[in-house]
Symmetry: C2
Subunit: 434 residues, 2 copies
């Protein structure tokens, strides 16, 4: 398990219940010293949350090694330690708890260092950070998941698999989506040890596998003197390899990302045969193949019509549509430093599909990737209009997963907090829909 | 194992030998996509190193999964993959290899994405970074180690234990120093599983345990209504706990950091009895207790005299001095943003102990912590005068470890490259000493 760099961790910020009463809230704090230490060296932590809470250093309770102590108990005790690799859980009594959303949290943490002259003691650490409470809102008709795609670039550099799954569970999600060649060590042939650990982690964090991302790499052999096109048989073999592996890991949906042959992302014609050859296997495994409708392709498009035609033609129950909410983006992604307008693909300004179009294809939609880019400190999404999108999904009868796909700025650790914001935002909206 | 955030990894940058010829150099590159992929989708990597090397994308060789391929072999092959969690090793033929030191390395990496329109292909990633070659210099009379203290704040957030040890080994170090309560999971009672893994990792990376940092926390119970002073018996028990654990993990030196009672860091008087009570155990375990001479305490100081007196009085071979090279700092650590001169302890400007003083205490010195703060792109240390320090150590007959203690800016991942710079710098100086 790895900790976030900030002393105040965003994961773990939640209200605390005793029976049916909310009695306070908790946050997790990383040890600021270069060492772990005996907990009797803690001289307390003052906590402020916006205008709502302001408590002195002696008030919060400390949970270390799974047991909870008052500051006085830590002072008198022996053997309790705050390890370097384990965040302390700080509990602040606050009747009724905090409201859902982003909060400005400040701490003033005091630690005694025996090796520093007394006139400079205690060592005091003051930090403020905006973090999002694990949402309490009901979440309406939908189920909530997170794609590990959200943690792109963080995964493997600041997050390992267990830490990523812990973050997913901490927002109250029940589903996890992965990319096969990305999150499975040793893909396409993970060891038995890896597979056992995968199921053990799902169990520990209370998560179920949802969708598994795969690729039909049509340009696999398109460079060099021996370049050639991928055949439909090869495309089918790729898809079937992933269907089997996905099933083995407990997934119910497989999204093949299919190579394209045109500027507007028309898939390579081999896709039809590759999929049709795989439908019997999908049925046998009870896994649904679901290519995505992804910006810049709107809902009303020949590509989508072709997908639907395949369903109608074959009568299959094991092929469906995955909707990526990026198609509803109605405000631009900000230009990157040095980037000029017109230098980038126009779809980054948003193709603004009307959520009302969902109803036309609703009966084929099996999974939603809840794509987003930036949710600010006021819990406002800067690109995706969630109210009409979620209303249209509810109206269409969709009751499956909303699986977070954060696709914004890749500052280390940012993805963790952004996913928390999205879950807080969409659960709240979903709970209030007509 | 975790990767550095930059695509160009600093660890793994080294010359390549075939027999006694140096035939080129290698660097490690992180997969820039959000997924791993078949290696036939690689369209090459151009590499430039300062004014020395400039090769086109088809030239470098690729090592993936432990086997090495030309680009043409990757195009024609099948089943070779570049996983998301594994850096590719890129080998550039360059007769004679690169000189030791920091190099400006640029890459232009090309990958084919089947799902992006062909007119935007290949996807091209251009990055430049200053990285340091694993040193080839002999290193003179000294042994080279790294304290995991160097990776403070990175450890547990961007580095796990194995990744940290891999970085240590990659600079050609043979020794590793740890902090007991910091790098041992479950301190003070690590599981058998953890201990087995510790030895397995030492073996895998060819490292020996050197010094183990511990604390005598004299203020353990100095807060609250029941505050009291630590007794010498309690201090001895703390020290002995760490002596035993250090021995169990293979360490030969234990540095107890002792609580202080004055502004100029005079240790709590209990230190003498705590140590004396522990000398028999240290002898039995054959571990040397070695408190540090650390800025702002110079070599000529009553604290050092007291340590030497204990050695002379008891005749012990299991107590010695650890010298922290921070005492030789002769230029200031830069002010932090917003910090004003005079607002911080004066010793941060450097206490500038004359390295010639080493000779007075040389026979008691058993270990060196090679403290440093900043080595620039020209391999110049901004605070520590290594030439006179290393000359004085050599002249005094010291032939033990120089154990890196990076103590500079805590930007994530910076510590890894700074340690590489220090080893390159001090090995080169040491090899050229009179």
């Amino acid at each position: 398990m790895l900790l976030e760099r900030d002393l105040i961790q965003s994961s773990g910020f939640r209200n605390v219940r005793e029976g049916d009463r909310v009695t306070g809230f908790q946050l997790r704090v990383r040890m600021p010293s270069y060492r772990g230490m005996a907990a009797s060296l803690i001289d307390g932590i003052a906590v402020r949350v916006g205008d709502l809470v302001d408590v002195g250093p002696e008030v919060p309770l400390w949970t270390l090694g799974g047991r909870t102590y008052t500051l006085g108990e830590l002072w008198d005790g022996d053997g309790v330690r705050w390890p370097l690799d384990e965040a302390a859980v700080v509990t602040v009594p606050f009747e009724g708890g905090l409201p859902d959303g982003v909060h400005e949290v400040s701490i003033e943490l005091r630690l005694r260092m025996s090796y520093i002259p007394e006139e400079h003691q205690p060592s005091t650490y003051r930090v403020t950070r905006h973090i999002t409470l694990s949402p309490d809102a009901d979440g309406g008709p939908f189920k909530y998941g997170v794609s590990l795609y959200s943690y792109m670039t963080d995964f493997g550099t600041v997050l390992d698999l267990e830490t990523a799954l812990a973050h997913v569970a901490d927002v109250g999600a029940t589903g996890v989506e992965i990319l096969g060649e990305g999150h499975i060590a040793g893909y396409p042939e993970p060891t038995t040890e890896w597979i056992d650990r995968w199921f053990a982690l799902l169990d520990r964090y209370g998560l179920e596998p949802t969708n598994y991302g795969s690729w039909i790499d049509t340009r696999l052999h398109s460079s060099g003197p021996n370049a050639r096109r991928l055949s439909a048989a090869e495309g089918a073999a790729m898809l079937q390899r992933d269907l089997r592996l996905a099933k083995q890991l407990g997934f119910r949906f497989v999204r093949p990302k299919i190579g394209v042959v045109s500027s507007d992302l028309v898939p390579d014609p081999i896709w039809t045969e590759s999929v049709e050859r795989s439908l019997d296997l999908a049925a046998e495994l009870d896994v649904v193949i679901c290519p995505e409708i992804h910006s810049p392709t709107p809902i009303r498009h020949e590509v989508v019509d072709d997908y639907i035609q395949l369903i109608e033609r074959t009568g299959t129950k094991h092929f469906g549509l995955l909707l990526d909410t990026g198609i509803f983006q109605d405000r631009p992604i900000p230009l990157r430093p040095g980037e000029l307008p017109g230098q980038r693909p126009a779809f980054l300004d948003g193709i603004g599909v009307d959520p009302a179009d969902i109803v036309d294809i609703a009966k084929y939609v099996v999974f939603i990737q809840a794509k987003f880019h930036d949710i600010d400190d006021h819990l406002e999404d800067q690109q995706i209009p969630w109210v009409p999108v979620l209303q249209a999904l509810k109206d269409s009868g969709y009751a499956g997963y909303l699986s977070s796909e954060y696709e914004g700025e890749r500052t280390p650790w940012r993805s963790i907090e952004q996913v928390r914001r999205q879950h807080s935002l969409i659960r709240r909206i979903a709970a209030g829909l007509d």
